[in-house]
Structure formats: structure tokens, C-alpha cells
């Protein structure tokens, strides 16, 4: 069995630092498992524990404070065969709290060593998330006001399936590290130790006392039964293997020639739930099939089920340079929410603009021509008005026929929706007849 310690970089910690002991125990555990340098990556955090990657001649990844678990997860997802070992102190634990919780919940096969010495050693002995309130540390009275975190209880509550707590002097730490490294899932080993360089200057911590503290906090021995489950990367592989690749959408060749010589902007002003965006999509698809160029912009509130829903569709026989609609040909007022959001359109409307107004929607006075439409009387419900308005637009502008819209619908909408949507389009066609002139 060969040591994985780096012959060219012997460890340099303060004399008596417990990190050095942890380092050697970890190396012994690697030897017990007969791991080779290329089988292991040490992902180290910041602080004195962040030196670990240097002292092994394995793969090494040293990054930013608190983020070691994130790099480790990326590496493990990409290289599932690697033994990925993360070393961090209680400092990294605190700053990277969100990542610890995520690692416990996610259960990627990583081994996390928390080299817990109750303070920030490297930066001057400030208090950390595990400093006892009674300790005297480099942060004045601040640690007296905060409750230290029990890493193991937090990890178990967050779903970690393998949790160990030991003092660095515990004779079975080596065995526990072996078990943690072998465990197929996220394992966390909370190793309590002393920092003679800083913490222990004012807080003596002889081995016996440390053992007593671990005893009092509770030893954790490994598998947390209620959290045992399939490892994330293996579960992921299973899902991957079963998924069917989404077809990459291919282009559509024009199937008819739309009757349009100038850019033509349509704005549908509706409300959430009225399928305004879907109607815009269909208009765009019909135009695509008619050989036109299209841009489509949608506007809706972040609250998905309420407020205005607006789609702006610009059709043009030439490639579209500017994707905004400066001068809409048609504004469709379907709901007051949408009208209120875009009052500016009515103020700017010219005589040549056509406003198609649902009979129950008020619009600001404007110079545009107005076509009032009683959707309700035609048996067209609120959810179908936007779709129906496409027929009115097509008829008044003569760009495409109802059949051509129907064709686009059949090619792009889910099949089970076809009968209902076709019925709306037919009703709208009848309605368009009555609206003429």
C-alpha cells in the first residue's frame, strides 16, 4: 500500500494542529482502499483546510470559499468513477451553507470532511458557525450572541444518508473514513479538532476534553437509515437512459403565398387565460407557411394567471430589420387589462390603423377605424376570442384564408385540441361575414 501524500510538498501546519493528524488518517484510509493518485480528487475549500489538496499528489481542485461542494459535484457528474473528497473547515461550512444543504438533499457520491476547529484559524481566530458561546475568540463578544450549529443534525435533517462525528483522536476515525469513502452517496464526516495556532491559545482543549465535547454533542456512526436512497448520479443515468431525445425542430417550406406586400403589425391586447400568446403563435405559424418573415414578442405579468396578456406579431414579405411594431396595422382589444397596459398604441394610432374591439371592452378614443365585434353573441367565449380574432384579421386584411389558418393549426397545435379550435375558427368565419362593411 502506498501513501498518496505528496513527496514534494510535506504538510506545513502549526505544530500540534489537528489538521495534520486528519491528513494522515485520510491518507491511511486511502491506503486501506488501495486507491491510486489518479483515482482521487481532493477538492479543498479556503482556510487551513484548504491546504489539503497540496499535500496529496492526487487530482486537486482548490477554489473559492464555501464553494468546494459545487465544484466537487460538477466533477463527479462528469467523471463518476472518481473518488471525490471535499475538505472544508467550519468557516466553509458557514459560508457555503446552501451548498451543504443541497449536497445532503441531492446525494451525489461525495465525501465531505468538515475539519471542525471552532474558529477561523488562518484569518486570526474569528468565530465561526460552530464556535461555542463560551469560547474566547477573535470576534469580541459576537460569538456569545449566536448559537453554534450542529453540523450532523443539520446534515441529517437535510437528507444526508451517511453522517459521522468523531474527535480527531478517535482510534476508529480511519475506519469511519474508509466507510465514508466507500459509501455510495453523500457522506459527511464532522471531525472535531484543535487549532493550537489560534483557538487553543485562549481555550485550552486537551484530547480528553475534546472527546468529552464530542460525546456530549453526540457521536454519529454512519448510515442514517431514513435517508438511505439511490445515489444521484446513478439515478440520473437511469433517467437519462430512459429519456427519448426531443426532436430538433426542422424548418418549414412555404406551402402557399400570403397576400402581403408591406410589413403588417398585429397587436392582440388580452388578459391572462385568454390564450392570447397561443393565438399569436398560430398567426406566426400561418405566416411562416405563407412564406412571410415574422417576429413575435409577448408581454405578460410574472403572475401567470392574472393581468394583461399581449402578443405583438409583425409579418413582412421582406426580412424584418427592426423587430418592434412602430405603426400597427391592426390592434385587437380583447380585454381591458391589455388595453390599459398599451394605452400608448391608441394615442399613436392613425386613420389607417384598424382596431378590432370586443363589444364589452372600452378603449381610449383614437383616430383609428374601429370594428366592433360581439364575440359573445356569436357563441365565442373569452378563452377563444384571441383565436377567433385571427380570422377577422385575415379576412379584413386579406393576407390569408381561414383554410390556411386551419392548415397551420393542424400542423402545429396538439391534435386533441383540433376539433374545438376548428369550431372556433368556423364560428369566427361566420361572424366575419356579419361584420363586413
Amino acid at each position: 500500500m502506498t501513501s498518496l501524500l505528496n513527496p514534494s510538498r510535506p504538510p506545513v501546519f502549526c505544530p500540534g494542529c489537528s489538521h495534520e493528524r486528519s491528513l494522515h488518517v485520510l491518507d491511511k484510509a486511502f491506503q486501506d482502499l488501495e486507491l491510486r493518485p489518479e483515482d482521487v480528487v481532493i477538492v479543498s475549500d479556503i482556510g487551513c483546510s484548504g491546504l489539503f489538496d497540496v499535500f496529496f499528489h492526487t487530482h486537486a481542485f482548490h477554489g473559492l470559499h464555501g464553494r468546494a461542494l459545487t465544484y466537487a459535484a460538477g466533477i463527479k457528474m462528469a467523471r463518476p468513477h472518481l473518488k471525490v473528497v471535499v475538505t472544508m473547515g467550519d468557516g466553509g461550512l458557514g459560508i457555503g451553507g446552501a451548498h451543504l444543504l443541497a449536497a445532503c438533499r441531492r446525494n451525489v457520491d461525495l465525501t465531505l470532511l468538515v475539519l471542525n476547529n471552532f474558529n477561523f484559524g488562518m484569518t486570526g481566530g474569528q468565530f465561526s458557525c460552530t464556535t461555542p458561546p463560551s469560547a474566547r475568540v477573535g470576534s469580541g463578544f459576537l460569538n456569545e450572541l449566536e448559537h453554534p450549529m450542529d453540523v450532523c443534525r443539520v446534515a441529517a435533517a437535510a437528507g444526508a444518508p451517511f453522517v459521522v462525528r468523531r474527535s480527531v483522536f478517535d482510534p476508529d476515525l480511519r475506519q469511519k473514513l474508509v466507510e465514508a469513502l466507500e459509501y455510495p452517496g453523500f457522506s459527511i464526516v464532522d471531525v472535531w479538532g484543535g487549532c493550537p495556532g489560534r483557538y487553543m491559545k485562549k481555550n485550552p482543549l486537551p484530547p480528553k476534553e475534546l472527546e468529552g465535547l464530542v460525546e456530549a454533542a453526540g457521536r454519529w456512526d454512519g448510515v442514517v437509515q431514513e435517508n438511505a436512497r439511490e445515489e444521484y448520479r446513478s439515478a440520473y443515468a437511469l433517467k437519462m437512459g430512459n429519456a427519448t431525445p426531443a426532436p430538433i425542430p426542422q424548418g418549414t417550406e412555404p406551402s402557399f403565398e400570403a397576400a402581403l406586400s408591406e410589413p403588417f403589425g398585429v397587436v392582440l391586447l388580452g388578459a391572462a387565460g385568454e390564450r392570447v400568446i397561443s393565438a399569436g403563435n398560430l398567426l406566426a405559424e400561418a405566416a411562416l407557411r405563407g412564406g412571410l418573415h415574422v417576429t413575435q414578442k409577448n408581454d405578460y405579468n410574472i403572475t401567470v394567471m392574472r393581468g394583461p396578456s399581449i402578443t405583438e406579431v409583425l409579418l413582412s414579405p421582406q426580412p424584418i430589420v427592426f423587430p418592434g411594431i412602430e405603426d400597427p396595422a391592426v390592434i385587437v382589444a380583447l380585454a381591458s387589462d391589455g388595453v390599459a397596459r398599451r394605452k400608448d398604441l391608441f394615442a399613436a394610432a392613425e386613420e389607417r390603423t384598424l382596431v378590432i374591439r370586443a363589444a364589452d371592452v372600452d378603449i381610449p378614443s383614437c383616430r383609428a377605424r374601429c370594428l366592433d365585434v360581439d364575440f359573445k353573441a356569436a357563441g365565442i367565449g373569452k378563452k377563444d376570442r384571441a383565436l377567433a380574432s385571427l380570422v377577422l384579421i385575415a379576412r379584413t386584411a386579406g393576407i390569408f384564408s381561414v383554410d390556411q389558418i386551419l392548415q397551420a393549426l393542424r400542423q402545429t397545435a396538439p391534435e386533441k385540441l383540433h376539433p374545438a379550435m376548428e369550431e372556433v375558427l368556423h364560428k369566427a368565419a361566420a361572424l366575419a361575414e356579419t361584420c363586413r362593411g
Binding site: G63, Y71, G74, Y236, T244, I248, P249, H293, T295, F322
Partner: protein, 372 residues
């Protein structure tokens, strides 16, 4: 192949797949979320990995790990997410980790207006890292550009081992438009240079602008990666000479090659004394404005920048040669304009910009040109 309706975010996904992206991680944020969902649909079924991070810091962290393990990686976010990416962007620059970062910009500052576009992060992308070393920023004007510039972004990230931004905008990312699939520019996909022979020093590079050859973490040869100042061997150093050599190389490897990827479109009109400079979706308003101005007999030239960083100095200088006046139009309160001023020095440089959440209109640019 014909034409297809697609928005800029879908085009980014398609471009990433085309370029050989195998790893994506992101955190949901308007207006970039549909890149996450698009990648999730496309990548895992073909053996790639997509992760949703617990936050943006984690998302980019996963990408850095996966990239060092040898996968082509991408993440996508918007301004508030770029803020959280910052420390890891510095890491990717300093430790030469290839990564594509899509920033679908939204109106700011801060959480700003999530559903409104702007180009307010131009300097933020360049300078939002500790140490101030260069990144590459490409700016699409439309969905077709989103495809090809994402593909270029991967190639540049791999070639130079550095983070490369695709600086999109809500108005591009979430605007659907017809794209001619036959006309898409498809740059051949390249990968990072792999170390083949001899002892491996992870940061040894040839010359003052060289890029180190790559070996993955998890391969047969142990590889060191570190965010700390390091020598060619990947061990921490405080040797001033080694440090200066490294930071200068990190700068040179990108900036000395800027002319090779100064993507742009230059539309010169004979005798024009005014040059408009624009980029992103605003460049489209500028193109429309230029057509109108020429129709009415006003002579004007247009430079559309598609590489924003490193500043394409030669392109700007040459485009402005004949001009007495340069008008820079941006969807912010003035960012690229400072670079243009720096480059053209003695010429008059005017600025027009808005950051109110709506597109700058061609008519407004026409007016600014005529204001002369």
C-alpha cells in the same frame, strides 16, 4: 431545411448543442429560464448533464468542476445572476477554465424590470471580476446570431481557456422570429488543445500569449487546479516574476488575438461623414434608421459590433476613418461609447441611449443623426 420560428434563447440552445456542449447548469431567472428548460430537454437524453443549482453561485461552480473534468460547459442567467457569478468568473479567468456564460440582459439596476430588456451589463461583464483581467463578450442582434455566436463562444472558450459571454437581451432571447436554417453560419466546432507528450505542468504555456494544453481532472495523469496565484506547476506562488508573467499572459492570450474574433458588420456609404455604432437588438433599429436616412438622401455609415470585449479597436478606427462624427446608440446610459471615444480620440463622438425597458426606435435614431 427552410425557415423556422425560434427565439434567441432557443437559438442559444441549438448553438450550444451544435458546438458540442455536454454540461449545463443554471438557476431559473427571467428572461434566461427557457435556456435552462431547453437544455434540459435536449441534453440528458443524449448523454449530457443538466443541473439546476441551488443558486447561481452553485450553478457556475458545477460548470467549473465539469469543465475541468473535460466537458464543454455553459451556464445562462441575467444581471442579478451575473452578480453572483462574479467570484467564479474571476476563478475561470485566473485558472483558465473554459466556460460559456449567456447573459440575457434585463433592465436594471439590481432586480430591475425582469421582463424588460436593456444592455446595461456591458462593462459589468468585462470588469465584474477581481483582478480586472479580460474576458470575451459577443453580442448577438437576432436569433440567428444567437446560434452562431454561441457556437463561436464555445470555440473561443476552448481555444483560449477563458470565460466567454454571449451578451443577449430579453428583446432577443424572448422574441420569436423566422430564422432561415440554410443561411445560419455554422463555424466548425473545435475543442481545447490536449497535452500529448511528456511531463504535464497544468499551466505551462508557450510564449507570452500562449494557452496551456489541457488534461482533465479524473484522467490518467493527476491534474492540479487552483484559484490561487500559481506557477506553471499549479502550486501556489508569491514570486513576483512568476505572478507578473502569469497575469500578463492571461491578458495577452486574449487581447493579442482580438483581431481574429472581432465580429462585426460594416455598412459604409460613400461620402458619409456620420458613422453610427451600435450592437445588440438596438443595431436593428440602427439598420432601419440608416435605410430611412439614405432614402431621404442623408449619407450615413453603420458599424454593428458583435464582439464588445476585447474592444475591436482596429475595426472601430478603420470604420471611423472617413467620419467627422460618430454616434453611438445603446440600450443603456452610455457604456460602449466610452470605448469608442477612447479609440477614435479626436473625433466628435455623440451618444444616444435609453434604458426605460422599451426598444430604441429607428425614428429616434434618425432624429439623433439629423440633430447635427
Amino acid at each position: 431545411m427552410g425557415r423556422i420560428l425560434m427565439d434567441g434563447n432557443e437559438a442559444v440552445v441549438r448553438g450550444a448543442l451544435y458546438a458540442g456542449c455536454r454540461f449545463f447548469a443554471g438557476y431559473p431567472i427571467t428572461p434566461a429560464s427557457s435556456i435552462l428548460s431547453g437544455m434540459l430537454e435536449a441534453l440528458p437524453p443524449t448523454g449530457g448533464i443538466v443541473m439546476q443549482g441551488e443558486d447561481e453561485i452553485a450553478s457556475i461552480g458545477y460548470c467549473l468542476g465539469a469543465s475541468m473534468a473535460g466537458l464543454k460547459a455553459m451556464t445562462a442567467t441575467s444581471g442579478p445572476g451575473i452578480s453572483l457569478y462574479s467570484e467564479n468568473i474571476s476563478f475561470a479567468i485566473g485558472s483558465e477554465i473554459p466556460l460559456v456564460i449567456v447573459n440575457v440582459m434585463r433592465q436594471g439596476p439590481s432586480t430591475g424590470a425582469a421582463t424588460r430588456g436593456a444592455d446595461g451589463d456591458v462593462h459589468f461583464m468585462r470588469w465584474g471580476n477581481s483582478g480586472g483581467l479580460p474576458v470575451i463578450v459577443l453580442a448577438p442582434t437576432c436569433a440567428a446570431d444567437c446560434f452562431s455566436l454561441t457556437a463561436h463562444a464555445f470555440n473561443l472558450a476552448e481555444r483560449f481557456r477563458c470565460p466567454v459571454f454571449v451578451a443577449s437581451n430579453k428583446e432577443i432571447g424572448m422574441t420569436r422570429e423566422t430564422v432561415d436554417l440554410d443561411a445560419l453560419e455554422r463555424p466548425p466546432a473545435i475543442g481545447r488543445t490536449i497535452h500529448r507528450e511528456g511531463d504535464y505542468l497544468p499551466f505551462a504555456a508557450q510564449g507570452p500569449d500562449g494557452v496551456p494544453a489541457f488534461l482533465p481532472i479524473g484522467g490518467d495523469v493527476p491534474v492540479r487546479q487552483t484559484s490561487s496565484m500559481h506557477g506553471p506547476d499549479g502550486y501556489i506562488t508569491t514570486d513576483p516574476q512568476v505572478m507578473q508573467t502569469l497575469v500578463e499572459r492571461l491578458k495577452n492570450k486574449v487581447e493579442a488575438h482580438a483581431d481574429e474574433f472581432s465580429f462585426h458588420e460594416l455598412d459604409v456609404q460613400e461620402g458619409a461623414r456620420t458613422l453610427i455604432v451600435s450592437y445588440g437588438v438596438t443595431a436593428r433599429a440602427a439598420r432601419a434608421a440608416v435605410a430611412r436616412l439614405r432614402d431621404r438622401g442623408t449619407r450615413v455609415s453603420l458599424l454593428v459590433l458583435k464582439t464588445l470585449w476585447p474592444v475591436p479597436e482596429r475595426v472601430i478606427r478603420e470604420a471611423a476613418e472617413e467620419a467627422d462624427r460618430v454616434l453611438v446608440v445603446e440600450m443603456n446610459l452610455g457604456q460602449v461609447v466610452h470605448e469608442v471615444r477612447r479609440v477614435v480620440c479626436t473625433k466628435r463622438v455623440d451618444f444616444f441611449g435609453l434604458m426605460c425597458g422599451r426598444l430604441i426606435r429607428p425614428s429616434e435614431i434618425v432624429q439623433e443623426v439629423c440633430r447635427d
